[in-house]
C-alpha cells in the first residue's frame, strides 16, 4: 500500500465518510463481561484497594485490604468455576473482547491455579505473628515505610508509629490481574500489556522487605532493569512479528504462518516472504517469555531476586509467575506458531536441557535456602519445558498438571522458610537449619515433604507431575529429554537430600534459629500446600482428568 493511500486513510477519517467505506460507522466493541469477570473482579478489587489506601484510617487498612483481597480472589475463583462448569473450558470455549482474550480450557485452568496460589500467597502476605511485636503493634514482613532510608530516623519513626505498607495488597491484586490476563492473552498487544501489568507491581513488591532492606532493594533493581530489558526484547519481537503478519492477533498470525490466509495484499506478500522477520521475531518473543519462566540462560535474575525479595513475595512470584508465563508460552507455541514447530522445537530442546542440568548442578553448592529453592525452580522450569516441547495434547495437559502441583509445593516451601527465624529475621543460611528436625520435628517433617515433592519421590505431587511431563515428552518422541531429565533429577535429589540430612541428622547448634509459631493464616497456607502435595501424589486422577479436559486451546 502506498504512502498516499495511508494519507487518504487519515483524511477519509477526518472528512465525513461516504457510507460503506471502512470505518464509516464506528460500531462499539462488544465486551463479554461475564467471560471477563475473573479479571475484572480482581482489577476492581485492586482499584478499590487503592481507594482504601487513600480513605480508610491507618488502623483499619490492614483488615480492609485483606478482606478486599480475599473476597475478590474468592469471587474471581468462583467466577472461574462458574465459567468452567458452564462449558467455557470445553465446548463453548471462545475468544472475547474483540479477540484480545481467550476463554478456554488452559486459560481457565491456569487462572484457577493462579487464583488459588494467590489466595494462599495473600495469606502469607498477611501473616503478622512471625516478627516480634514492636512498640505494641504486630508487624508483617513488609517495611513500615518503604520510602524511608534503611536505618534512618524516619524509618524508626515509622516503625514506632506502627506504619505498615498495606499497599502490598492492591499491588498484589494488580499483579494477579496481569497474571490472569497473561495466559489468556490472544493477541501480542494484550500479551505485552499483561506482562507489564504483573511485572511492575512485582518489581515494587520485591523492594519492600522489612528486614534486610538493602538486599530487598537490590533485588528490586536487578529484577526491574533486567525485566525491562527483556520486555524490550519481547516488544521488538512483537514488532517484527507484526511486521511479518501485518496483525497482532494470534489467529491472523497463525493463518499467515500456516499460509492459509485469505486476501493477501502486496505489502503482506512482501513481508510474508521474509522469514527472517518471523524467525527473529519468534526468537525474541520466546526470549521474553523464557525470561519470566527463568530458563537458562535467561535465569540469572532468579536467585538474586528470590533471595532478596520478601519471602512471601518470593513464594508468590515463584508460583504464580511461572504458571502464567508457561501458560502464555503454551498458547504462543500451540496457537500462533504450530506451523513453525520444526523451527522452535530443536531450540527449545537445547534450552530445556541446559535449564534442567544447569539448575540442578548449580543448586548443589548453594548455601542459602532461598537461593537453593530458586535454582530448584529453574530446574523445574526445565522439566516443564520438556512437557511443552512434546507438542501434543497430552503435553499441554501434563504441563497444566505440573504447574498446579508445583505452585502449591513452592508456596508451601517458602511459607515454611518464613517460620525459621533468628535475631536477624529469617535464618535462610543452610548452616542455621542444622538439627531443625530435633528442635521442631513437625516443621522439619513438613519441609521434608515439600523437598521430597521437589525431588519427585513417588506418592508426592512432584512425582505425578514429573511422570506426566516425561511421559508426554517420551510419547512426543523426546526420549533424550526424558533421559536428561532423569539424570538431572538424580543430581537435584542430591541437594534436596542434603537439606534433609542437615535438618534431621546433624546436631542442632546452640545459637540455632527458633521456629516461630505462625497465625492461622500461614498455617492454612502450609496446610493447603501439604494437602495438595499429598492428594496430587496419591490420587491425582481427578486433576489429571481436569487438565486433560482443559487441554485444548481455542483459536
Amino acid at each position: 500500500m502506498s504512502a498516499t493511500s495511508v494519507h487518504t486513510l487519515w483524511t477519509s477519517l477526518a472528512a465525513a465518510p461516504p457510507p460503506g467505506t471502512p470505518g464509516a460507522t464506528f460500531d462499539a466493541p462488544t465486551i463479554e463481561y461475564a467471560q471477563l469477570a475473573p479479571i475484572l473482579i480482581v482489577v476492581g478489587a485492586a482499584v478499590l484497594g487503592v481507594l482504601a489506601e487513600a480513605f480508610v484510617p491507618r488502623k483499619g487498612r490492614y483488615y480492609v485490604q485483606l478482606f478486599i483481597a480475599v473476597v475478590a480472589i474468592a469471587a474471581a475463583f468462583a467466577a472461574i468455576i462458574g465459567l468452567a462448569t458452564s462449558g467455557f473450558a470445553t465446548t463453548k470455549a471462545q475468544i472475547v473482547a474483540e479477540g484480545a482474550i481467550a476463554v478456554d480450557g488452559p486459560a481457565l485452568f491456569l487462572q484457577g491455579t493462579i487464583l488459588l496460589a494467590s489466595l494462599v500467597a495473600v495469606f502469607t502476605f498477611a501473616e503478622r505473628r512471625l516478627d516480634p511485636v514492636s512498640h505494641g503493634n504486630r508487624v508483617d514482613s513488609f517495611a513500615a515505610d518503604a520510602a524511608a532510608v534503611p536505618g534512618s530516623a524516619a524509618e524508626k519513626a515509622a516503625v514506632k508509629a506502627g506504619f505498615a505498607t498495606t499497599e502490598v495488597f492492591p499491588l498484589a491484586m494488580f499483579a494477579v490481574a496481569g497474571l490472569l490476563a497473561f495466559p489468556a492473552a490472544n493477541d501480542l498487544l494484550t500479551l505485552f500489556i499483561a506482562l507489564e501489568v504483573f511485572s511492575l507491581p512485582l518489581y515494587l513488591l520485591c523492594a519492600v522487605a522489612r528486614r534486610k532492606r538493602l538486599m530487598s532493594q537490590e533485588a528490586a533493581v536487578k529484577y526491574f532493569l533486567l525485566g525491562a530489558f527483556s520486555s524490550a526484547f519481547l516488544l521488538f519481537g512483537i514488532a517484527l512479528l507484526y511486521g511479518y503478519a501485518g496483525s497482532v492477533s494470534y489467529a491472523k498470525i497463525a493463518d499467515v504462518v500456516d499460509g492459509t490466509v485469505q486476501q493477501i495484499d502486496p505489502a503482506l506478500a512482501g513481508t510474508m516472504g521474509n522469514d527472517a522477520l518471523l524467525l527473529i521475531g519468534m526468537a525474541m518473543i520466546l526470549m521474553g517469555l523464557l525470561f519470566k519462566v527463568g530458563a537458562v540462560p535467561f535465569h540469572m535474575w532468579t536467585p538474586d531476586v528470590y533471595q532478596g525479595a520478601p519471602t512471601p513475595v518470593t513464594g508468590f512470584m515463584a508460583a504464580a509467575t511461572k504458571v502464567a508465563a508457561f501458560g502464555a508460552l503454551l498458547r504462543l507455541l500451540y496457537v500462533v506458531l504450530p506451523g513453525l514447530t520444526w523451527d522452535w522445537r530443536p531450540v527449545l530442546w537445547g534450552v530445556a536441557i541446559v535449564t534442567m542440568l544447569g539448575g540442578a548442578i548449580v543448586a548443589i553448592t548453594q548455601t542459602d535456602i532461598k537461593r537453593l529453592l530458586a535454582y530448584s525452580s529453574i530446574a523445574h522450569g526445565g522439566f516443564i519445558l520438556a512437557g511443552v516441547i512434546a507438542a501434543t495434547p497430552d503435553g499441554i495437559s501434563s504441563v497444566l498438571f505440573y504447574l498446579l502441583a508445583y505452585s502449591f509445593v513452592t508456596i508451601g516451601a517458602f511459607a515454611v522458610v518464613t517460620l525459621v527465624r533468628d535475631a536477624g529475621g529469617e535464618a535462610t543460611h543452610l548452616s542455621k537449619w542444622a538439627g531443625l528436625g530435633r528442635r521442631s520435628p513437625l516443621v522439619a517433617a513438613v519441609f521434608a515433604v515439600f523437598l521430597l515433592a521437589f525431588a519427585g519421590i513417588p506418592l508426592t505431587s512432584g512425582f505425578s507431575g514429573k511422570f506426566a511431563v516425561f511421559k508426554a515428552a517420551a510419547e512426543g518422541g523426546a526420549g533424550v529429554l526424558v533421559v536428561v531429565g532423569v539424570l538431572s533429577s538424580a543430581i537435584a535429589a542430591f541437594f534436596y537430600i542434603r537439606v534433609i540430612v542437615l535438618m534431621f541428622f546433624s546436631e542442632p547448634k546452640a545459637d540455632g534459629p527458633t521456629v516461630a509459631v505462625p497465625s492461622v493464616l500461614t498455617m492454612a497456607a502450609i496446610g493447603v500446600g501439604v494437602a495438595v502435595t499429598l492428594v496430587l501424589g496419591v490420587a491425582p486422577q481427578y486433576f489429571l482428568d481436569l487438565a486433560g479436559q482443559a487441554g485444548t486451546f481455542v483459536r
Binding site: 533486567l226 522469514d275 527472517a276 525474541m284 535474575w301 523451527d343 548449580v362 553448592t365
Partner: protein, 648 residues
C-alpha cells in the same frame, strides 16, 4: 526291619541334641547318656547285622525312604537309606569302636568341665558318620560328609582356649571344604549325566555314560576323598588335627572319619571300573600318600603326630587298593576295618601314656614306661605288631593282600605299585618300632629332665598349656580306659585272620563291590616272604638307631630329609607362602581396590559434578550487567539457532 535304619542314626542324634541343648543340669549324667545311646546304636546295628546274615547274599540290601528332601523338577533328592553289606561293615565298625571310645572318654575327660559337650559332639559325629554310610544317594551322603566335618571341627577345636587348637580346627574344615568342591561338582556332573544322583540308578547306568564324563566324576570323587582322608595333596590338616583330645584322634582321625574317602571310592566302584584313567590316578595318589605319610611318621617326635603320619600312610594303602578295582575293593575295606582296630588301639594307648605323663606328647621325654603302665604296654604292643604286619595278626593279612593286589595290577604299573607298597611296609615297621622303643624301652628320660621343651615346633603349644615342669609320675590308667584298649587289642590280633580265611570278608562284600582274585605276576608266597623280609629290615634299622644307642632328649638336627619330614615335608610352608600370604596380599589389595577404584569412580563423579557446580556458580557474580550480557548472548544464540534450523 528296615525301619531300624533311621533309628540307627536317630539314637546318637538324639543324644547330641539332648546333651548340647540340655544345659548344665546334665553335666553329671551327660557322659553316661551319650555312651548309652552310642551303645544303643551299636545294638541296633548288631540286630540288623544278624538279620542281614540270615538272608541270602543276593537280597541283603535294605532300603528305607523317610521323605522327599529337595524336589525341584528333575532334581529329586530324598532322605532315604540303603543298608547293604558295605554299609553294614561300616555301621558295625563305627558304632563298635565309637562305643568303646565313648567308654574310654569317660575316664579320659574326667577332669574337663565341658565333658558333657564333648560327649554331645561325639554323638553328633556318630550320627553324621552313620548317615554318611547308610545314605542311598550322593546328596545325602554329602550331608553326612559335611556333618562329620563339622563334628571333627568342633572336636579338634574342643580346647578352644588354645589358639593352636582353634587354628587346627579351622584348617581341617577349610581343607575338607576344598575336597567338598570335588564332591559337589561330582554330584552336579552325575545330575547332568544321569539326571539323578541316587546310588542305584547312577551306578546301574554308569557304563552307559561317556568315559570322559565318568573320568571327570571319578577324579572329582577322588578330590573329595583326598580332602576327607588326608591324602596328598590335601593331607596337611591331619597332623594339626592331633590338637584334639586323644579319643577324638582315635575315633575320627584314625578309625572312622578319615576312612570315609575309601568308602566313597569303593561305593562308587562302578564308576571307577568304567574309568581306568581315574583309577590310575587313584592308585598313584594312594602310593604317594602311603610313602609320604610313612616318611613323616619316621621323623615326628610327637607320638600322636607320628601315629597321624602312620594313619595317612595306611589310608594310602586303602586308597591304592580301592584304585585297583574289583581285585582291591574288598581288601581296601578289610584293611580299613583292621586298621580301625589297631590304630584306634594305638591312639588310645598313646592317650593313656599321655594321661600318665601329664599330657606330655614328646616321645623324647618318654622311655622305659613298660613297667609303669603294663596294660597300656601290652595292648599298644599288640597294636604295634598288628600294624607292622607281623605274621598272624590282623595287619599282616590285610596289608599283605593289598600288596598282592598291587602287584597284580599288571604291567609296569603293577611293579611300581607293588614296590611302593613293599617299601611302605618297611617304613611302617621302622617308624612303629621307633615309637615303641622310644616310649616303652630305653632309659627313663622323663626323670628330672624337666628342662625347657625341645625345639620341636609341633609340641610347643602342648608344652605351654600342659607341659608341667614338675617330674611326672607315670601310672596306669583307670579301667574305663584300659578295657576299651584291651577289646581293641583283641580285634587287632584276630580280626584279620577271621576275615581272611577263605576270603570270607571278600565274599561278604562281593555282592556290593564285586570281587575278583588278584593274580600277581609272581607267586603269592614270594610276595609274602618279601614282605616279611622288608618288615624285619625296618625293625632292625629302628632297633639299631633307637634301641642300641640312647635317645637324645633334644632332637638332633638330623639330615635334610629328616628336617623336611618334621615339617611335613615342607608342605605347610608351601601352603603358608603361597596360599596364606598370597591370599592376604590378594584380599588386602582388593580392599584397597574396592575403596579407591570401585567406590572412587562414584565419589569421583559426585566430586566432579560438585566442582562443575562450583565453577558455574562463579558466573552468578551479582552484577546485573553481566546477567544482561548472558541474556543478550542467549537471545543472540536463540536467534542464530532458529535461523540455522531453517537454513539446514
Amino acid at each position: 526291619m528296615e525301619n531300624l535304619i533311621a533309628l540307627l542314626v536317630a539314637a546318637p542324634l538324639l543324644g547330641a541334641a539332648v546333651l548340647l541343648c540340655g544345659g548344665r543340669r546334665l553335666d553329671r549324667a551327660g557322659h553316661w547318656l551319650g555312651t548309652l545311646l552310642a551303645a544303643a546304636s551299636f545294638g541296633i546295628g548288631a540286630v540288623l547285622f544278624f538279620d542281614m546274615v540270615g538272608k541270602d547274599a543276593g537280597d541283603r540290601a535294605l532300603h528305607q525312604k523317610l521323605f522327599s528332601w529337595v524336589p525341584v523338577a528333575d532334581f529329586q533328592a530324598d532322605i532315604a537309606f540303603q543298608l547293604d553289606q558295605l554299609s553294614m561293615t561300616f555301621v558295625l565298625l563305627i558304632t563298635g569302636v565309637g562305643t568303646l571310645i565313648h567308654v574310654y572318654s569317660i575316664g579320659y575327660m574326667e577332669h574337663d568341665e565341658r565333658r558333657r559337650r564333648f560327649f554331645g559332639y561325639l554323638n553328633l559325629f556318630l550320627a553324621a558318620m552313620l548317615l554318611l554310610v547308610v545314605a542311598d544317594n550322593y546328596l545325602l551322603l554329602y550331608f553326612g560328609w559335611e556333618g562329620v566335618g563339622l563334628a571333627s571341627y568342633l572336636l579338634i577345636g574342643f580346647w578352644q582356649h588354645k589358639p593352636s587348637a582353634a587354628t587346627a580346627a579351622k584348617k581341617a574344615f577349610l581343607v575338607n571344604r576344598v575336597g567338598d568342591i570335588g564332591l559337589s561338582i561330582a554330584i552336579m556332573l552325575m545330575f547332568t549325566t544321569f539326571g539323578t544322583f541316587a546310588f542305584g540308578p547312577v551306578l546301574g547306568a554308569a557304563e552307559g555314560a561317556s568315559e570322559g564324563k565318568l573320568t571327570a566324576i571319578g577324579l572329582m570323587l577322588l578330590l573329595a576323598a583326598c580332602g576327607k582322608s588326608a591324602q596328598v595333596p590335601l593331607q596337611s590338616w591331619l597332623g594339626d588335627a592331633m590338637e584334639g583330645p586323644t579319643p577324638v584322634s582315635a575315633l575320627i582321625h584314625a578309625a572312622t572319619m578319615v576312612t570315609a574317602g575309601v568308602y566313597l571310592i569303593v561305593r562308587s566302584g562302578a564308576i571307577f571300573n568304567a574309568a581306568p584313567d581315574a583309577q590310575l590316578v587313584v592308585t598313584v595318589v594312594g602310593a604317594v600318600t602311603l610313602l609320604f605319610g610313612a616318611i613323616v611318621g619316621c621323623a615326628k617326635d610327637d607320638i600322636k603326630k607320628a601315629l597321624a603320619g602312620s594313619t595317612m600312610s595306611q589310608i594310602g594303602y586303602m586308597i591304592l587298593a580301592a584304585g585297583l578295582g574289583p581285585i582291591g575293593y574288598a581288601f581296601a575295606i578289610m584293611h580299613l576295618v583292621t586298621h580301625g582296630f589297631f590304630k584306634a588301639g594305638l591312639f588310645l594307648g598313646a592317650g593313656s601314656v599321655m594321661h600318665g605323663m601329664n599330657d606330655e606328647v614328646d616321645m623324647r621325654k618318654y622311655g622305659g614306661l613298660r613297667k609303669y603302665m603294663p596294660v597300656t604296654f601290652v595292648t599298644f604292643g599288640l597294636g604295634y605288631l598288628a600294624i607292622i604286619g607281623f605274621p598272624g595278626l590282623s595287619g599282616f593279612f590285610s596289608k599283605d593282600k593289598i600288596i598282592e593286589a598291587a602287584f597284580a595290577a599288571g604291567g609296569a604299573q603293577g611293579w611300581i605299585l607293588g614296590a611302593a607298597t613293599l617299601l611302605g611296609a618297611g617304613l611302617t615297621a621302622f617308624y612303629m618300632t621307633r615309637v615303641m622303643l622310644m616310649t616303652f624301652f630305653g632309659e627313663e628320660r622323663w626323670r628330672n629332665k624337666a628342662t625347657a621343651s625341645p625345639a620341636e615346633p609341633d609340641v610347643e603349644p602342648a608344652a605351654q598349656t600342659h607341659g608341667s615342669h614338675s617330674e611326672p609320675h607315670p601310672h596306669e590308667s583307670p579301667k574305663s580306659m584300659t578295657i576299651p584298649m584291651i577289646v581293641l587289642a583283641f580285634g587287632s590280633v584276630f580280626a584279620g585272620g577271621f576275615f581272611a580265611i577263605g576270603d570270607r570278608f571278600a565274599n561278604w562284600l562281593a555282592p556290593v563291590t564285586r570281587f575278583e582274585h588278584p593274580h600277581p605276576p609272581i607267586s603269592v608266597p614270594v610276595i609274602t616272604g618279601a614282605t616279611i623280609v622288608v618288615l624285619l629290615l625296618g625293625v632292625a634299622a629302628a632297633y639299631l638307631q633307637y634301641g642300641r644307642k640312647p635317645v637324645p632328649v633334644v632332637a638332633p638336627r638330623g639330615s635334610l630329609l629328616t628336617r623336611a619330614a618334621r615339617r611335613d615335608l615342607l608342605q605347610d610352608d608351601f601352603n603358608h607362602v603361597v596360599l596364606v600370604r598370597g591370599g592376604e596380599h590378594l584380599t588386602r589389595s582388593l580392599v584397597y581396590l574396592d575403596h579407591s577404584v570401585v567406590d572412587g569412580v562414584v565419589n569421583g563423579t559426585a566430586a566432579s559434578v560438585g566442582g562443575l557446580s562450583g565453577r558455574l556458580r562463579k558466573l552468578q557474580n551479582g552484577y546485573a550487567r553481566s546477567y544482561a550480557v548472558s541474556m543478550f548472548g542467549g537471545t543472540a544464540i536463540l536467534i542464530a539457532a532458529t535461523l540455522l534450523m531453517r537454513a539446514v
